[in-house]
């Protein structure tokens, strides 16, 4: 035949959907996005924090710059990202070390899978994450700093 086939790979959009739009798929995407966000923050944090090696005058100038409320808001976003990434990370450590996926069992319809095994862990992790985000938000916007 030799006719041209059509490349049906989904590309990066495939990271978002392409299956059943399950919760675990979204957790995977959020984990990636928060990871990249935290990495970008972290690189800036290293440079900002390293100003200390230039002595107290430079340090105080840097601290004044960082008093801008945009950094306060940014700190909240970093906190939210970190809370999600850390808690989902704990869940992933359990899953990817084979501790929350259950044992192999003969499939009998209606099929259950490791997704069922990890659901309780996922619920706990999401609840704790929500609590932490609410606490962090309260502290940032209503707490005294």
């Amino acid at each position: 035949m030799g006719n041209k086939q059509f490349d049906n790979h989904l590309g990066i959009i495939g990271w978002l959907g392409g299956g059943r739009w399950g919760v675990e798929r979204y957790l995977y995407i959020l984990h990636r996005l928060t990871g990249l966000g935290i990495l970008m923050f972290f690189l800036l944090h290293i440079f900002a924090s390293s100003v200390r090696m230039y002595g107290p005058e430079s340090w105080n100038v840097a601290m004044v710059l960082l008093k801008n409320p945009i950094f306060k808001l940014g700190e909240f976003f970093v906190f939210v990202a970190f809370a999600f990434h850390a808690l989902n990370g704990i869940r992933l450590i359990f899953i990817e070390l084979g501790l929350a996926v259950g044992k192999a069992e003969e499939p009998i319809f209606p099929y259950k899978s490791s997704l069922n095994n990890q659901k309780p862990l996922m619920m706990i992790v999401m609840v704790i994450c929500a609590i932490l985000i609410l606490a962090g938000g309260y502290n940032t916007f209503f707490g005294s700093h």
Partner: protein, 276 residues
């Protein structure tokens, strides 16, 4: 005779003719659907009564051959196993499996997937080659040992897991959920002795550690194989191996005949049909 109630379902089918089209297009057909009709039945109806040019794979029509994998209303599944009225009451979108090349219409090119599967050595390998080629008796395997890998033997290589995996969407070198699960299936099979080779394949770049548990493969699998479980268990095995803590049991040995038992008269194995 009573007329069976039918619902008119509109099929939106993604078509692609490599000789005419630059990219896929959508065509619309109306199918009178009775309760119990599968998507495959619907496609046959379209082919027989409306458009003979529509192309799709099918064989067993009962969910064991893996030919008819396709995207049905946005989810990968077997056309023969999916009842139309379970999925929709009005419109049904049928498209070829993503993350493969399309040969034509609903027919994906599964050959690369089979090639990857072949590369992971999906067969029992042992040191006693003579016994394997000319068997004299069974290998001894307990029901517990069987249970450890039985689930992953139900794979029919339909490609639904590969279609739903996010890593497969972008990474062309990624082995994919099916080959990775099959690596685990053979490594855990106590009759096999090539675990070390396959573990090296699984531990490479673009292999086991590029699975991030999106869980879509296990959700999409029409046979309940749960490839995600196999892959995570494979990671556990590799990490334990890194610390030297992996316990790989002895290879299954030949079954010893109990003293008081006697063999039935020997039945000659059928002649080889493929090269000797």
């Amino acid at each position: 005779m009573e007329k069976v109630p039918t619902t008119n379902i509109i099929f939106y089918v993604r078509r692609f003719d490599p000789e005419k089209d630059a990219s896929p297009r959508q065509e619309q057909y109306t199918v009178p659907v009775e309760k119990g009709m599968t998507v495959l039945d619907g496609l046959h109806y379209i082919k027989q009564t409306q458009d003979a040019s529509i192309g799709f794979r099918f064989s067993c029509r009962m969910g064991v051959c893996g030919s008819c994998g396709m995207m049905i209303n946005g989810k990968p599944g077997l056309a023969c196993n999916t009842q139309i009225l379970d999925v929709t009451q009005s419109a049904l979108t049928v498209a070829p499996l993503p993350n493969f090349n399309i040969i034509r219409d609903l027919v994906p090119d599964l050959v690369p997937m089979f090639g990857v599967h072949q590369s992971i050595q999906p067969y029992i390998q042992r040191k006693d080659v003579g016994e394997k080629e000319n068997p004299t008796m069974e290998y001894f395997q307990t029901p517990h040992q069987l249970e450890e890998y039985l689930q992953f033997t139900y794979c029919i290589k339909c490609g639904c897991c590969m279609a739903s995996c996010p890593t497969m969407a972008t990474d062309r070198e990624y082995l994919g959920p099916m080959p990775l699960a099959q690596i685990y299936r053979y490594n855990v099979d106590s009759r096999d002795d090539a675990g070390a080779t396959r573990r090296n394949i699984a531990a490479e770049s673009h292999a086991v550690f590029n699975c991030h548990y999106a869980g879509e493969c296990s959700a999409a699998c029409p046979k309940g194989v749960d490839p995600a479980r196999a892959i995570q268990l494979m990671k556990k095995d590799l990490v334990l191996g890194y610390f030297g803590l992996a316990k790989h049991g002895k290879c299954a040995q030949l079954h010893k005949k109990p003293d008081k038992a006697s063999y039935k008269p020997k039945i000659d194995a059928p002649a080889f049909t493929v090269g000797k």
